[in-house]
């Protein structure tokens, strides 16, 4: 943290007099460089990194292997003859482009819906005090902690009777139910960080509530809009069980359902096409990993609202 400046001056002053001041010496930048590298800690960390990176590495490694290397009794830790066959096969399996389109339409709809609605709600919950506000906040938190099936079962029945199963709208509304509460929660945090003096100044200049919102607050809360859009994207892009339950027509599958069907649908055959599946998993994960890296600064702060489930 901010300890470096004072400690540097302190140790510089102490050095001529006090040779044994190990504590203050080790805190100066120069001697910290000289201090022995903590080999044991580094070794443990290295082992940890290998273990934790291994599954991802193995996915990518498998994705580039030809069938013969994948199905060998001694695994190859690097593809001997790297190939893109798996990717072509994955994209060729079923109608990849159709599933991609399904995913994009439903996810984009859910994100736009929940960000627009959530933006106004977050403004209300951060800029005004009114009765029932705390109840709403608690409700928003609790909804995210419900077991998935608690919403899945009744939504399935309701959408069934409204003929919304197997449609984009039905799936989109199910995602909005999951995503809107935490979008509100996350954006509210960003609203709270904007000083109220700004709105008051604008009001004194004669701005209406609408103008304060659109001219002052919404532009300032842009980072929050981006962060919660990404959260919302990740949560709905990754969903498997809702789409699996709602979308029975194969033409309506989303990418996760398609990806998992590599293993479940190929019943009596020799088994799963792991090469194709890992290539598909790589393609599917890339946008999520990229987005995760973009918002990683907000990750920890957004977590108390349970924004991205583990």
């Amino acid at each position: 943290m901010t300890t470096s400046t004072p400690s540097t001056t302190r140790s510089a002053a102490a050095r001529p007099a006090d040779r044994a001041a190990g504590a203050s010496r080790s805190r100066s930048h120069v001697s910290r460089r000289l201090r022995r590298i903590p080999w044991i800690s580094c070794a443990i960390a290295a082992v940890f990194c290998v273990l934790w990176a291994f599954p991802v590495y193995w996915m990518v490694n498998t994705a580039f292997k030809p069938q013969s290397e994948m199905l060998s009794s001694t695994p190859h830790f690097l593809p001997q003859n790297p190939t893109l066959d798996n990717f072509f096969r994955a994209v060729g399996q079923g109608n990849f482009l159709v599933y991609l389109q399904n995913s994009v339409i439903v996810v984009a709809g859910a994100v736009i819906f929940s960000i627009v609605l959530g933006l106004f709600a977050a403004a209300a919950l951060s800029r005004f005090r009114f009765r029932g506000r705390r109840t709403i906040m608690v409700f928003l938190l609790i909804v995210q902690m419900l077991p998935g099936t608690a919403l899945l079962i009744p939504q399935f029945l309701i959408f069934n009777s409204l003929n919304l199963l197997d449609t984009y709208w039905g799936l989109m509304f199910a995602y909005v139910a999951g995503v809107l509460p935490f979008s509100i929660w996350v954006m509210r945090g960003f609203f709270l960080a904007i000083p109220v003096e700004l709105d008051e100044a604008a009001r004194i200049d004669g701005a209406s509530t609408w103008q304060v919102l659109t001219k002052i607050l919404f532009p300032l809360v842009m980072p929050g809009i981006i962060a919660s859009s990404v959260f919302a994207f990740i949560a709905s892009w990754n969903d498997y069980i809702i789409a699996y339950t709602f979308m029975k027509d194969q033409a309506h599958y989303t990418l996760p359902v398609w990806l998992a069907s590599f293993s479940t649908a190929s019943g009596g055959q020799i088994g799963t096409d792991y090469g194709g599946q890992m290539a598909g998993a790589t393609l599917f994960s890339i946008p999520v990993v990229v987005f995760f890296m973009i918002i990683q600064r907000n990750l920890v702060s957004g977590m108390s609202a349970g924004a991205v489930k583990g």
Binding site: W52, A53, I142, P154, V196, F262, Q277, M278, S304
Partner: protein, 321 residues
Amino acid sequence: MVTSLAPAPPRRPAGSPRGRLPRSTRPSLAPLWLLSPAGLVLLCVTIAPIVFLVYISFTDYDQRTLFTGEYSVVGVDQYAAILSDSEFWLSLLRTVVFTATLVGGSVLIGAGMSHLMTRLPTVMRYVVTVVLILAWAMPNVASSLIWKWLFQPQYGVVNWLVTQTGVVGDITSVNWAADPQLAWVCIWLLVVWQAVPFIALTLYAAETQVPLERKEAARLDGASEFSVYRVVVLPALKPTMLLVTMLSIIWDFNVFNQIWLVSAGGPDRATSTLGVFTYTTAFSGNVQIGAGSAIAVASTAILLVLSVLYIRNLVRSGEEL
């Protein structure tokens, strides 16, 4: 940990003075029209379904109802049935044990990792952070499928590596998902693998707030690294640790995709937690939606207790509601 450290706006309560002054009543309508679109949607997609779920749990709604729309109210019969069903209690027990081992494992590893990160040189710490975020970012559908491939009998790399160590003999043909204990181990590893990054990074963020002087002083006094952690770091981390643990309990209680994709609750229901039991009751076999709803209501009630505890802690730790 809190979403924002800024204090709540010191606004005058807009709704309290009723009617007298037109100027003070006008802004009180703003939250109403700002909230109503989201409120309306949430009413339709969350509140109404939950109310409906509770209602359905008192009926014999099943497959035939999906087509004919006919069902009858059976009172608490569904609840009586599930409470006397040993499978329900077994699922609950499995869920509790599974959650406990998951939370214990991931918090322990996460805390160890976060403390280790504070001792690492900058470059190494950066590498660890990137690896953690990578593991965290993987969609759990993808990671579940990776797991099946890693643990695949015959060609799976895990079986091969374990065999190479020579400790347990040749296990290349062992099918993890088909063995009750091994299926648990396999899923446990998967969930812990994805849970550790959040815990480690959150605790690391909190641990950087602990003054370095205190740790250095303890080390100078000859304290072992473990007692430095226990005496100096842990007390300072307690609030964060508590929130992380409670959040982990709630999430791990709800783990579904990983179990469903790796073992589908098998072999012979050995890995069937409450979530899986609810899903299979309501959506497979003879589609007993009424019974499934009753189980869902029961698990919701359990989670509600955990959530309320969590929220109370969140408020205590300074989160403004």
